[in-house]
Symmetry: C4
Subunit: 264 residues, 4 copies
């Protein structure tokens, strides 16, 4: 699938934004669940909102892919040339369609019309599997995309495990980091294959470039993990401040219990 | 394995029919289990009936494969030509034999002679694995068949997981969708490789055809998911109507609880 | 690894005998566990005996491989030819060494010196994995051996799952059937590659032979499943007779409960 | 990745030392947990210490890789030659960085700032996966390194399972043995590829060498298992001596219970 910088960057931003949002939301949820049952009531709303955002962007993506000037305008077969129209746009539309479905499932799952729990994770996993299959199946520039496929399949596998182990903080953290990785790697792909300042992309046949990109992928993942850790720490600090304001006495007691020396 | 349109369509209809049946049965079972223990007594009968239908069609399939005019008539080695007879018919017979076994296991599992639970799922999984191995192993027209193998192995893996996680609604839904996908994709294979209106099949070496078929496979799956969702919604509506007729009071109460505004 | 008929048949007999033994033992254990805690005390002895038999045959196998006239006689490097001695014998010795280890672990696990449960299954799984790796890695006559590797790895995976799901009757049945399959397939390999009546083996490059062997593998598995089913039925019948003799009253009651019409 | 004997041996020593340490620690932990809750208080300190050692050696490794005379001295791109500097050193630095992260996670997990349990195993698994990817991806001398990758991925998979099945003695034993195997195999790689007594490495194109190395890998694993078994036996003996000293009465009673004949 040929890549433009803009398309790659927009997709990357979408995944990175979701990763960032989760890297704040899941630690907060975990801390509140440990503290008490406080976080439960608001949870449904958050998931519905998340699903709506996902579905909205997927819908926008489909419309853009179809109706950009070079797009197929919903035409699949060109009678003039007796061949398929450019299928790349259709591929992306299909991927977005599965993310749209995932968004709708999220929204319906947490509506009063209760669906069996786990269906939202299954649909997310399916969307990632479809995305991964398309990315893995495209032959051009294989090394960059096979690394991307690693990030996508890691996320898909994690979402699939969450069908059975729901609300498992480790799985949620791992999924968050895989989304951050996918987002930042899509930016990297944009820079490598079609740099925004023009000029040709990197030489994909040079083996030292491939070695560097493999290493670079690991650094991206370290960056993703650092982001997750920083946001988790910030959530914990924020939660502590909040708890202290609401109940300075109790918070002081709790703190003394954890850091006995700090009570001096 | 060479494919005729009729054979592919009949096989497809079998899998699609099973998928449709499950897409009604499992949501009903789930709703009744949530409502109370009402669904349990009738369940054994349904599984026995299902097994009988499966075994009957598998048996018919074996007989047809063996005794069609071009079939091997139970002859494996032709002494005249000193070579094997056409093994395609034998391959299909072997696959059907495993489905026959799966049907018999279903029937015996739910007879008074109680077998350990999970044996029916294991035998279904084995039948799908054998089918998938034959489909995956045939070299001709590989892309179409490798997509079919994806649908088959997804179903096999799901049935295998059900050995351990029995009566898990998500797994049942996924298995249902994989059967619907397999059924509709077998129809697609029939149309692509040997169109019923005569003429040659599609050009399998054209890469844009392959790209289209990959995408088409995703659309088939979306169609399968839509079928599952529609039937689940219909089952829920039907269950609601039934509950209201049996006990209008209780149903009214329940409805008010879910949609408070509807009670006005 | 070059194969002789005798070697293949002896190995096959070993695995087949273990499969047969388990196909009687596990159903009996399951029935007794359902009936009450009766089967527990004797169980340790059976496992120790099984381990001793396994270890004994593995030891005999090692000695035979090393000290047959064409064997290496414990010599690994031949200083005369400045090359390794025939490594096939060493390969088999290594495989048997792991089965010896598995046998010893079985014996120690159920001795008064209690090891953590699951270690016996892990060591069996390791032995099968090592065997599968050697079988899969040998390049000659690949199709026959890759089918054998399927049977071996299926058994290894099953034993690995049993580390976590101990005493799961479905897993035990599946492992039993994989051993029966492996045993009978080793006999088939012997007949195909080096027929006992002399003459060359089958033509491995003929694709119809390969198709037939794939199908034949499925039939072997059907035979293995039939053996398991027949032995399970026989165990149940035997258990029923035994129960009736010990306590005719209770057995009559139990039977009436299951088949109410039979009490007339 | 080109290998020097010294580098391979140092890495091997690190993994072997960790394996040895665990082969003593885990049996002791298991015995104490079975005996009572005695082992729990000290456990956090051990894990923090382990993490500190891991992080320290990883940090030393990074510094050595960067600042040896032939190293890149933190320079990634050489402006003189307009190409990447030697990326091998950077690869190892990246691997060590993940082990550094794993060490830090160990330390933080067991600090008063309690992280969700399982995060330490996930980070260890990530470090091993990254190591395995680099080892598996390097094309030179593939057979030796693919065997190493087997040992690494086995350890990674085991650590991943421990996220869900924490404190499972079988998994801990298996992880220990995989570390011992990796350590001793790294020594073997050093001897094979760049013998310390000079001279060229083994001929990697000779198929009998490959067959021997496959077998040798199994023997290394047998050695690793023997080490684990010996250390477990020693820990049990030591624990028995300790228990007897602290409470000779109780120990005598316990011993009589296990070996009734020994009390005579």
């Amino acid at each position: 699938m040929p890549t433009t910088f803009l398309g790659s960057a927009l997709r990357g931003t979408f995944f990175f934004a979701f990763g960032l949002w989760w890297s704040v939301r899941y630690p907060l949820k975990y801390l509140r669940r440990k503290g008490g049952a406080e976080g439960q009531p608001g949870r449904g709303h958050t998931e519905v909102f998340e699903g709506a955002v996902k579905a909205f962007f997927a819908l926008v993506g489909i419309l853009v892919e179809q109706f950009v000037p070079t797009g197929p305008h919903l035409q699949l077969y060109s009678p003039k040339t007796h061949s398929w129209t450019d299928l790349t746009h259709w591929h992306y539309s299909t991927i977005y369609l599965f993310f749209l479905l995932s968004g709708i499932t999220d929204m319906v799952s947490h509506s009063p019309l209760k669906l069996p729990p786990g269906l939202d994770r299954l649909s997310l996993s399916l969307a990632l599997l479809v995305e991964g299959e398309f990315v893995h199946g495209c032959d051009s520039s294989w090394h960059l995309h096979s690394l991307l496929a690693v990030a996508i399949f890691a996320g898909a596998l994690c979402a699939l495990l969450e069908v059975f182990h729901r609300d498992h903080i480790i799985l949620e953290t791992f999924r968050t980091s895989s989304f951050l990785l996918q987002g930042s790697w899509l930016w990297q792909i944009g820079f490598v294959l079609s740099p925004p300042w023009g000029g040709p992309g990197w030489d994909q046949t040079d083996s030292s470039n491939l070695l560097f990109l493999t290493m670079c992928f690991c650094w991206h993942y370290l960056g993703a993990l650092a982001t997750v850790a920083a946001n988790a720490a910030a959530s914990r600090w924020y939660e502590g401040v909040l708890a202290q304001r609401q109940d300075p006495e109790a918070e002081h007691d709790r703190r003394c219990q954890i850091f006995p020396c700090a009570s001096l």
